[in-house]
Point group: C2
Chain length 217, copies 2
Amino acid sequence: MRETLTEKQQNILAFLTDYIETNGYPPSIREIGAATGIKSTSAVSYNLRRLEEMGYISRDREVPRGLRLLTLSPAGGVDDDVVRIPLRGRIVAGAPIPLPPSDFSLMGDETIELTRSLLGDPTGLYALQVQGNSMIDALVHDGDIVILRHQQRVENGEMAAVWLRDREETTLKRFYQEEDGTVRLQPANPTMQPIYIGDPGQVEVQGKVVLVVRRLE
Amino acid sequence: MRETLTEKQQNILAFLTDYIETNGYPPSIREIGAATGIKSTSAVSYNLRRLEEMGYISRDREVPRGLRLLTLSPAGGVDDDVVRIPLRGRIVAGAPIPLPPSDFSLMGDETIELTRSLLGDPTGLYALQVQGNSMIDALVHDGDIVILRHQQRVENGEMAAVWLRDREETTLKRFYQEEDGTVRLQPANPTMQPIYIGDPGQVEVQGKVVLVVRRLE
DNA sequence: ATTATACGCGAACAGATGTTCTGTGTCAAG
DNA sequence: CTTGACACAGAACATCTGTTCGCGTATAAT
């Protein structure tokens, strides 16, 4: 069995997504044929069987318009654009980030619901609610919710949640590893001055800040 | 025409949402009848016509399984927790808010997708992207997205987007009408001082700030 | 040349589907 | 009591729909 898609099969797939999007229900075999230039119903049926074998669609035989798209890549997924992110607790400047988010059970705890369009890849995400105004230099207010992606390293310029060992303090800053090895932590507020840290071992990256949400009742 | 839904009609609506969710395509009239205890196809057809008249569904006649849900629904609504908010433009301190969002066509423009759980009532909402760092005293950064509810008055203590006539300036502040009639505009940043304005006519409320979203790629 | 495979056309067919027409029972208004 | 709207049952019917079978074409391997 070939694994590549015929041009006709690609056309069928494209037509399916479009048709379902506009009409709310799948097309019939004859409609597919008319749209893709296949003049025989059996030929369409044949191609649909191919697409089913390759896992692109799923069919209910004998049922008129009984098919659905499986690949969520083109535009198929309608409702899984909501991402549930576990709210792991609170973040305070004077304490380390509560849970090393190793275990990934998003139990019956609180979760934050956001749309995927805001986030991209939802793996490794967790949320913290900021307590107090100690991070105001990062333009983060008391009560704000910070969405983090758990990772130990960040690229230069990315906003990160870092634990400063010697100061015993958590803070949100843009992270820059300078050429001489020192670390520069740049506040989001452009009117404020950066922090320079000579020993990179003192800087412990807890995660990369992906999103900040402020809710005002 | 009665506006209330029969029990059977509610059942039909619930069945429709459930069936479409699981199968990816709508049920046939006979399947609806079997699921809701209606033994005649004409009776189902009759109820579907009622539902269509009341705006709950939309139908393509003569087409097998040719129907789709419109309202997502009073009975079994599960998945309309995504709210589309029109992005009306940019907001700059030195200019008035671009569009008095009177007309409510959310055309092919950009929209922001958010979950309803963050927002509550989605009526009258629109989004603006902040340009520049002039609103940093409201803890709002360049590029942040502000979700506003269009209204001319706000309660004391609510965060509002206001246009200051004499200064010709838009700003985001907490709004307080003092007992002596003056207006106090309190920055979100607690380290900064409020603005007092003697003549309330100089303060033009553009909307109430509901949400602030900061995306850091 | 022969064979196998992929792809497509056309026609026939059984079953599924929506519509329409007629009839029945209920219930409230006149 | 009569009337009429409302909700539903049952049957008949024209279409729509997916499947199957026979046949043709092109390409590549044998």
